[in-house]
């Protein structure tokens, strides 16, 4: 039956002449492809626009201040009560806030990264499957908490235990310069801001570390066990060397988030324009919170200076993020 059907459908007549074929897409596809390409390049366009607008708006300030815009420790906007430029010279330098940004971010990383790495180790190598799935979605959920929630929680809940820890640190480790305080004012210190930032970066660093750990080749893990390794020996000799650079990349993503955080830091920290290395003392700030603080009552000129500050912040976080992503992508690809 099948055979006769096939025969009935066999081509009749002469073999068809060859025809030209081409790889050029049809008109409809050309339109489709150009629309998609236009949308695809939107992120490039947006990033370019952000950089150029902030740069051009802040250019005049950056030119008059020169390098001292980055290194200067003074932010004085001289205006008269009617809003015109004052007689004294205005000085804009974001140096103190850059230091504040780095100090709070460094505290966040010091506290957040070990917790994240150990939590990721637990999730990858210790947790039973069902608990693991649940905890992974908890971590995802934590990453989606709005930053103002962290700020509110930091102010009303974390402040008290944070101050307690700060007082202990000062009491027993006060001889180390960064833990000393000239006056016992522990409320709203960079240390507590760093604690809040640590909580904020933990989900990011944990998620990435977990992903990298879970890509550790199974044969090497089993080889280590077969050689008699304990779990710790396996982690130390197989998992860590394998995922080291991925953890560095994940921590840098956390660093990017900590450096750019605005609302949480503004809420928790007592924003004062000074370079404060004494992390337990309640004064300091970071670049983003400084912009928010000054924005409300800024003169036309100061707005320009804030744009320039925003440009610096944008470049900093973009650079950190790019390096971090490059590292994470490289590690991720090696694992697959």
């Amino acid at each position: 039956m099948d055979v006769t059907l096939l025969e009935a459908r066999a081509p009749q007549g002469p073999i068809p002449t060859p025809r030209a074929i081409e790889t050029k897409p049809r008109i409809s596809d050309q339109i489709f492809r150009s629309i998609v390409a236009l949308g695809g390049f939107s992120s490039l366009i947006i990033l370019g626009l952000i950089a150029s607008y902030l740069f051009f708006r802040g250019y005049s300030i950056m030119r008059t201040e020169g390098l001292s815009f980055i290194t200067g420790y003074q932010w004085v906007s001289s205006i008269n009560s009617d809003g015109t430029a004052g007689t004294e010279k205005s000085v804009y330098g974001v140096g103190a806030m850059l230091i504040g940004t780095l100090v709070t971010a460094a505290i966040a990383l010091t506290i957040g990264v070990p917790i994240s790495v150990f939590a990721a180790l637990y999730l990858t190598f210790f947790a039973p499957a069902r608990i693991k799935n649940f905890l992974v979605s908890v971590v995802d959920l934590m990453a989606a908490f709005p930053s103002i929630l962290f700020g509110l929680w930091g102010l009303y809940v974390l402040m008290e235990p944070g101050m307690y820890v700060a007082e202990l640190l000062n009491k027993y480790l006060g001889w180390i310069p960064i833990f000393s305080v000239p006056v016992p004012m522990f409320l709203r210190s960079p240390f507590i801001a760093g604690l809040v930032l640590a909580v904020m970066i933990i989900p990011i660093v944990t998620a990435i570390s977990r992903e990298i750990f879970s890509q550790t080749p199974l044969d090497r893990i089993q080889a280590a066990y077969a050689l008699g390794a304990s779990k710790w020996a396996m982690i130390k000799n197989v998992a860590f060397p394998y995922s080291y650079s991925g953890i560095v990349g994940g921590s840098m993503l956390g660093l990017g988030r900590a450096m750019g955080e605005t609302v949480a830091v503004f809420t928790v920290l007592n924003i004062l324009y000074q370079a404060n290395f004494k992390i337990l003392l309640g004064a300091g700030g970071n670049l983003a919170s400084h912009i928010i603080l000054k924005f409300g009552e800024a003169s036309e000129e100061e707005i320009k200076a804030l744009m320039a500050a925003g440009f610096v912040l944008f470049l900093m976080t973009l650079a950190v993020n790019m390096i971090a992503n490059a590292i994470v992508n490289k590690t991720g690809r090696r694992g697959r």
Binding site: L44, L49, Y156, I292
Partner: protein, 349 residues
């Protein structure tokens, strides 16, 4: 007929009952010891209790396994303790945050809370007046406009990366990743500097939505790309083999196949921006009265409402801030549950 000896399966790596009970005893003893220590020394509160409990438990367990099975086992035991401490330190803030939101979040909510705005009331006025209506409407508009802008752009970006794989794909992928990390304040500053400052245009909901779109596009694009990558190439080839153009293949085969995943991408994008505060401070003005028109005049929103309550600082304002957060968290949790529902529906297929 010789009897066949089958080995009964054993699991020698399983801890024996004696080992488990010693461990439980050690944990209980450590808890007791830390309680005694805190009660009899200068330390106060629950925090040192927890810390000493951790130190005691890990140290005793390590010593025990060290005595029983040697140095390596002791190290292993310390390591396991550190891993458990890590996950505990991760969960502690989550539980604390959720608990605080639930316990403090409902104090300011009364029957008229969702139907009045703050036009007549200050944030420090008693809690039986004023409400969040204006902020709900504002956030609704912000999300709708941000969706209209960023869903097409995000999905087109993902299509460019997965379907066309055109020139610069690697660069675009890299930039989208970098863009998802830019601080939200920069998005607000950019919209302010480009569209508001010096142009005569004032704050409006639309400007806020533009700033939020900058944050939403990379989230949508990245998730959508992951989802589109999961569509098997066979489906695309089948579509093309049937004589469809690439446009028809994408529109009628690829996108329907990835539909639930794309919905997840959109939901995650909304969850990303729903609570963003910093960009709104530069763009929306934050009204206290109800404004139905997103194109004109200051517009309130839930994050801005929380922000204003936070700045006010009075106990009533704090209660209002927690109520705002409570509503925001309900929204975020709902979005999350939806996202999980849709991504699970995908897996079952």
């Amino acid at each position: 007929m010789t009897p066949v000896n089958t080995a009964t399966p054993i699991k020698p790596w399983r801890p024996t009952r004696r080992e488990t009970s010693t461990q439980i005893a050690i944990v209980l003893l450590s808890a007791f010891a830390s309680f005694l220590l805190v009660a009899n020394t200068g330390f106060e509160g629950r925090l040192p209790q927890v810390i000493f409990f951790g130190i005691f438990a890990i140290a005793t367990l390590a010593i025990l396994s060290g005595v029983r099975r040697g140095k390596e086992a002791a190290k292993d035991s310390i390591m396991a303790g550190a891993a458990y401490t890590g996950i505990f330190a991760l969960l502690l803030p989550v539980v604390s945050i959720l608990w605080t939101v639930i316990s403090r979040g409902t104090n300011a909510i009364y029957t008229g809370y969702f139907t009045t705005d703050m036009a007549q009331d200050a944030f420090s006025s008693p809690l039986d007046a004023g409400g969040i209506k204006h902020a709900l409407i504002g956030t609704f508009w912000l999300i709708i406009i941000a969706l209209i802008i960023s869903v097409p752009l995000g999905i087109l970006t993902a299509l460019y990366l997965t379907e066309i794989k055109g020139p610069g794909s690697a660069l675009i992928r890299f930039l989208v990743q970098a863009m998802s990390g830019i601080p939200s304040i920069v998005a607000g500053l950019f919209i302010y500097s480009a569209l508001i400052s010096g142009t005569g245009r004032g704050f409006s909901g639309f400007m806020g939505a533009l700033a939020l779109s900058i944050l939403m596009i990379p989230t949508v694009a990245r998730t959508a790309e992951e989802v589109l990558k999961l569509v098997p190439p066979d489906l695309r080839e089948a579509g093309l083999a049937l004589g469809a153009t690439q446009w028809k293949t994408v529109a009628l085969v690829v996108i329907p196949a990835a539909k639930s995943g794309l919905v997840t991408a959109v939901i995650l994008g909304v969850a990303r921006i729903a609570g963003e505060t910093a960009p709104l401070l530069f763009t929306t003005g934050g009204a206290d009265d109800t404004n139905l028109n997103p194109m004109q005049d200051n517009m309130g929103s839930i994050p801005f409402y929380i922000w204003k309550a936070l700045i006010d600082g009075s106990p009533e304002a704090a209660a209002r801030a927690w109520a705002g957060i409570f509503i925001l968290m309900l929204a975020v949790l709902t979005l999350f549950a939806l996202a999980r529902y849709f991504s699970r529906a995908k897996k079952v297929k």
